[in-house]
Subunit: 351 residues, 3 copies
């Protein structure tokens, strides 16, 4: 493929030699003369001049560069993702059921499925067409799964859970494990039956070792297009909206409601029985104990407006200094008082 | 079942029509006319008037309601758990060993066990009566497990660990993985053999993908009736008391001692070689670097009394304002000093 | 073995009876008269006098003790690790491939490998000599693994990942799961192919249920001798240096660069596209949003110098008090102003 062909296929404006052959993509530092790279993060703009790449994907208004060809297009990161697809051949998993897979006779497996070694598919499961179920995946009884399901080794779908089309599970993801529900019975904890399910809508991806608990009653739901990173906890009865990102090690307590297009950065924690509005963003490690308004950006614990938090955090670092300053003011103030008194006394002596 | 029968079976006082048929339970918002619901969290008291439920489980002193029947009983949440059991039929796992299970001939499996597909049970394992071991569970050599053990797919019990009666493991729980023990050897880290075990006492539940490490020497112990949520880390040599709750993503370092009836909320971290006293509570994301007194409620990092922390956190948000105020006071104080001086000077000019 | 033999084998100076027989090791509180124990943490020095142990490993300059024999040696903790090895017999895994293991004919398994039940080894895998691959381990196609690999049940090595010699994976560790990479496409998220790999160099250990993601392009790398505790997240494209410790529940975002001999304590979070210098230490729960200098010790969020943080945290607890103090100063200052004015007025009445 040539630079010209790539420019044409993704609709970019090429500034450079259209005949240059391209054999792949790479990061801006490691890219060689037959690879395309990109700059989305302005931090790296300086490196554009020094890259050995065949061309750099940049925003249309990126300053002119002599050193290297540019492919100008809006959202160069997205364009890069598309170019990456041109050159990447994903491992192929041919249709067929491995002889060691244990598939219950009552399960319905639609056409084109690849069922790997030692996969276990329980009674009354429905698995859509084009599924790829890799070794050691376990799908419990009654789970209903849509088309083009992709489950990596050791992923689990628990009893009666419902999964839409184009859902991907990475290794060890647990969909529908029991919620953490106990009622106090004297000093003991009595387990509350987790009779509900987990629902993953179309296009959801859940990454490695994340846990999306089933509900005690009703459902836990991750809505269309949302993505869940590694080691995330979603508590029972929670609702996550559409196109939302839960980054690594985020934890949602029970009955939490997260809106659409929300981004919770790494290690964010959200208490139960509250709402995080649409398009809200929480920066890393934020702790959210109460509702968050739509479109707000929050930080800290308890979560507050990000700009306010930045100022407060700057103040936190200066606290020892502030305390010294206040002490100094008080002792000076003590002196002022006596000085003022002395002033008054001297007046009294007048006349 | 009718409302009257339910009232009788759980010992609740029914205010409403005893003949109303009940076919299940549901949350207060989704409950229909043949379902029972409950209100434990006062937040939802308002919804009682608008629910379509057949009846609502409430505290005995809950205000009178005309709109809906009430089942008055202490601890309505516990009562709800019991009613839920009336209507929920858990998946049944018939006794028997799946032909694909690999059970070492030296293992002792007591009566009534269900051993699922591809389960692996090592040498000298003792597994009590009524066990349910689901597909892909691996029990290493020498593990001793009590009665009514329930292990979900991909749970692991490591070599020589000891598990009491009525213990439940959710998917991917790892009981007795190696502790994180290394000794500095020059600039390298030398692994310290993790020769100890993990002990889970009667009634313990460990949920999905949590890790209860084995000890280097001696044991790591979770005591009777304690519950461990998803993605929790319990470091080697730690001791967790009875009826304690470790919520999702809690982390205990090594040799930590947690008392009885303690509650550590989500994402709490506890340093090693310290004690958290009985009945203590740590709110979400608390970081505990030193001992915590019994019955205390702590928050923040480093952990402090929760009321003190609430006041300090409120102050944190006001820090920028406070800093401005202190600046203003200083400049004013500077003026005061000169005013005082001017006052003195004017005196000097008198006479 | 006798105390004398142990002293000789580890090169310690024995103060006590060389003939005393030793049958094992234990913690200082539980050690019996035929066990050796140690004191590394000065916290426990007092317990040396009361221990029942045969001998205590201590630093050479440890005060003389009459009550118990001492084995004096530098780094007693390391010495303890060595003595522990004398008495601990790790479970043995004889060479051989379990009949239920599914090994692709194109895979190369070198001599002395133990391949457990239901292990799955994909096409073109190369597995070095002396490997121990326990039940249910899955190694995807094209993975290249060095000598003396040890993988516990349910560990996973994903396609084309590269693993050096003497690497250990605990249960459920996921090496090379997809990174969390999506490009915004309108309001949707488009998955970015994760075409890169994960590289674990010689002597790396990854503990239970941790996730070391593969890179989108290029690689994610954990360098020689580094150790990764349970439930750790290492984001795609990150580089972790040599002999570094990532403690439990640490999270690294994408393209993070961690130096050599770094220690990140439990639950530390590190943002993407930044560098943590060699020999840096971050205390538990620290949040690192920007570069950290070599050899620095940081705490808090945002991370700051540990001593500064300790002072600031002390100030945080005193914030309510500080606010009251500032209020008092202001009202007093108001009084001062009027007093000063009164002083001036009284002057005006003079003459």
């Amino acid at each position: 493929m040539t630079l010209g062909e790539i420019a044409q296929r993704i609709g970019a404006e090429l500034q450079g030699d259209a005949e240059v052959p391209v054999r792949g993509v790479a990061g801006i530092e490691s890219a060689g003369p037959d690879q395309v790279t990109f700059v989305a993060n302005p931090k790296y703009a300086a490196q554009v001049r020094s890259t050995r790449a065949a061309a750099v994907l940049v925003e249309p208004d990126f300053p002119a560069v002599d050193a290297v060809a540019t492919l100008r297009i809006r959202n160069p990161y997205l364009a890069f993702a598309r170019v990456l697809d041109f050159f990447y051949a994903a491992p192929a998993y041919a249709p067929g059921v491995h002889p060691t897979a244990v598939v219950d006779p009552s399960a319905i497996i639609k056409d084109g499925a690849h069922i790997g070694a030692y996969a276990v598919i329980g009674p009354d499961v429905v698995l859509g067409s084009g599924a790829v179920v890799l070794p050691h995946v376990v799908i419990y009884q009654g789970a209903r799964i849509g088309d083009r399901f992709f489950a990596h080794a050791h992923a689990v779908v628990r009893e009666f859970c419902q999964i839409g089309d184009d859902v991907t599970l990475q290794n060890g993801a647990v969909i529908g494990g029991d919620g953490f529900g106990y009622a106090k019975d004297g000093t003991r904890w009595r387990k509350i039956v987790q009779s509900g399910v987990t629902v993953l809508e179309d296009g959801v991806e859940v990454q490695s070792n994340s846990c999306i608990d089933r509900a005690s009653i009703g459902e836990t739901r991750i809505s269309r297009g949302s993505k869940v990173d590694n080691l995330v906890q979603v508590g029972h009865g929670s609702l996550v909206g559409q196109d939302t990102l839960l980054c690594a090690q985020v934890g949602l307590a029970g009955s939490t409601e997260i809106g659409d297009r929300v981004i919770l950065a790494g290690q964010v924690g959200v208490a139960g029985h509250l709402k995080v509005g649409d398009d809200a963003v929480a920066t890393a490690q934020t702790g959210i104990p109460s509702d968050v308004a739509p479109r707000s950006v929050v930080s800290g614990y308890p979560a507050m407006d990000n700009r306010q938090w930045l100022r407060a955090a700057a103040g936190f670092a200066r606290l020892p200094e502030l305390i010294r300053e206040v002490r100094a003011l008080r002792s000076r103030s003590d002196r002022n008082v006596s000085e003022a008194r002395n002033g008054t006394d001297s007046n009294d002596t007048n006349g």
